[in-house]
């Protein structure tokens, strides 16, 4: 299978914690500039798969590569946004961003880094927040800052592990819009892998959805999301095609669950 640049490739990957299999025979390709959602229930191994792509874990079998280079560990080419503890609490928001900038631009002076940090923060709607510490911000603002830090790494790949899962619905909606906005505004577009258990979120944000099942974790099916951008929630919810796709995915998840319940 040929590997193209700026593509993520996961081939024949197995993973286990102790003796228990967590992922079995995962095959996944993400094209350059694509927004892929990893959708599945708890226990489907989607976060683990993300950690493998990030290089935070090593697979038992198989291989992962980013940009044609095998993944052996984490790196600034694959930025990660977590759901919790996304920032260092003892540093100011500005300093958190500056750490990422220092990796992307090692030759910048402190002043230049600070100015660039402020730009990144403005882009996510947090202009005045640089001298504050994370504990002074609301959950939504903290996640915005975490996104800013990930973007400041200027990496070709952006990996997100249910980043909006801990937020209330309004903030979640705001941040979803912000993410799409920022992602679309960059040229070239980053390749995004977004883990979620929310079907609506996946269909709203992604170009393609990989549905995962549990016991053991594996990819059941992949769906292309055909809706043109910009995607508006109200328009989507009125669209019959949206509802059909949603049902299909829900059915795929249910079938998988039932199949396992009945097999057990």
């Amino acid at each position: 299978m040929s590997r193209q640049p700026h593509e993520l490739s996961v081939e024949s990957v197995d993973f286990a914690y102790g003796g228990a299999p967590v992922l079995r025979d995962i095959h996944l390709h993400v094209a350059e500039g694509e927004f892929l959602a990893l959708l599945g229930p708890s226990g489907s191994g989607k976060s683990t798969l993300l950690r493998l792509i990030a290089g935070l874990e090593q697979p038992l079998r198989g291989q992962l590569s980013a940009n044609g280079v095998p993944v052996t560990g984490p790196g600034p080419d694959r930025a990660v946004v977590f759901q919790h503890y996304a920032l260092f609490p003892w540093m100011t928001v500005g300093d958190n961003i500056a750490e990422a900038i220092a990796k992307a631009h090692p030759t910048l002076s402190r002043k230049e880094r600070r100015a660039l940090a402020r730009e990144h923060l403005i882009r996510v709607g947090l202009g005045d927040v640089a001298p504050r510490h994370p504990f002074e911000l609301s959950g939504g603002m903290q996640q915005r800052a975490a996104i800013a830090r990930a973007l400041a790494l200027e990496s070709p790949f952006l990996l997100m592990d249910e980043p909006f899962g801990a937020l209330d619905p309004i903030n979640r909606a705001r941040l979803q819009d912000l993410l799409v906005d920022v992602w679309q505004g960059q040229t070239p577009r980053r390749t995004v892998v977004f883990v979620t258990h929310d079907v609506d979120e996946a269909l709203l944000l992604a170009d393609r959805v990989a549905v995962m099942g549990a016991n053991p974790g594996r990819i059941i099916r992949e769906y292309t999301v055909p809706f043109a951008r910009p995607r508006k929630r109200t328009a989507l919810f009125k669209d019959a095609a949206f509802h059909r796709l949603r049902e299909n995915i829900a059915e795929a998840l249910d079938e998988d669950t039932l199949a396992h319940l009945e097999a057990a």
Partner: protein, 277 residues
Amino acid sequence: MSFQPKALVLPSGANNTSNASGRKPVRRNRLTTFAWEPWALGMALLLAWQFIGGTSSAEGNPLLPSPEIVFQALLSSLPELGRGTVSSLLILLPGYGTALLLGVSLGLLAGTTPRLARTFFPFAKVAAPIPPTVFIPYAIAVLPTFHLSATFVVFLGAFWPIFHNAAAGALAVEGRHRDNAWVLGFTHAEYLRKVVFPASLPHIFSGMAVGLGFSFILLTVAELFGANAGLGRFVQYYADFADYPRMVAGILYTGVVTWGAMSLLEALRHRALFWLR
């Protein structure tokens, strides 16, 4: 019946209006929210002391002199106590300071490097429980000056709690912080400095507080053995003369010094851990 939290402080304009449950709220002001209980206890202890101590005349209690006699002895001994404080601090500060530097750096290193942990933790398990007090006579005999031996013993007492707590703090660093540092491409040195050290500060401060307490204990004991000045020495010296007022004064004074040191540490902790409040 609804539960009314006693510590509730209402705005002053709320005096005569009914609250949601239809009851008039009790007016609270600074006087009623002031914690009077500890002061009442202190007063009670003072009165008990006065009672046991008897009068301030020569017929008073010989073993526990009255507060007035002790206070007079304290005042007259202040210059000597002041010199003793300086002498004690000249032992405490180098000993504790060295223990702090070495304990934190070695503890954080051991807690983050598996090989170092494997090498040193078993040794620490055996060496740390040895009471530093048993080193005192040996240190005094072997080291050239008393000052050096006392500093060494103080160092030993403070080092182990600080080392253990720093190591525990390093081991307890949240996985997320490790992941974030790793993704950001931190070197091991950057990781120690920017992540492990700040994340371990709560543990380190615990170790510092215990270490400081041990330091004072060991310092005063060492001074009982071989000093010619210092706070421990003060009490021992006047014991030889059966000068109970001075002894009690010395004890009280030492208590004030240690309380001051602990308060200073607590203030430092409060400031350093600003992000945890």
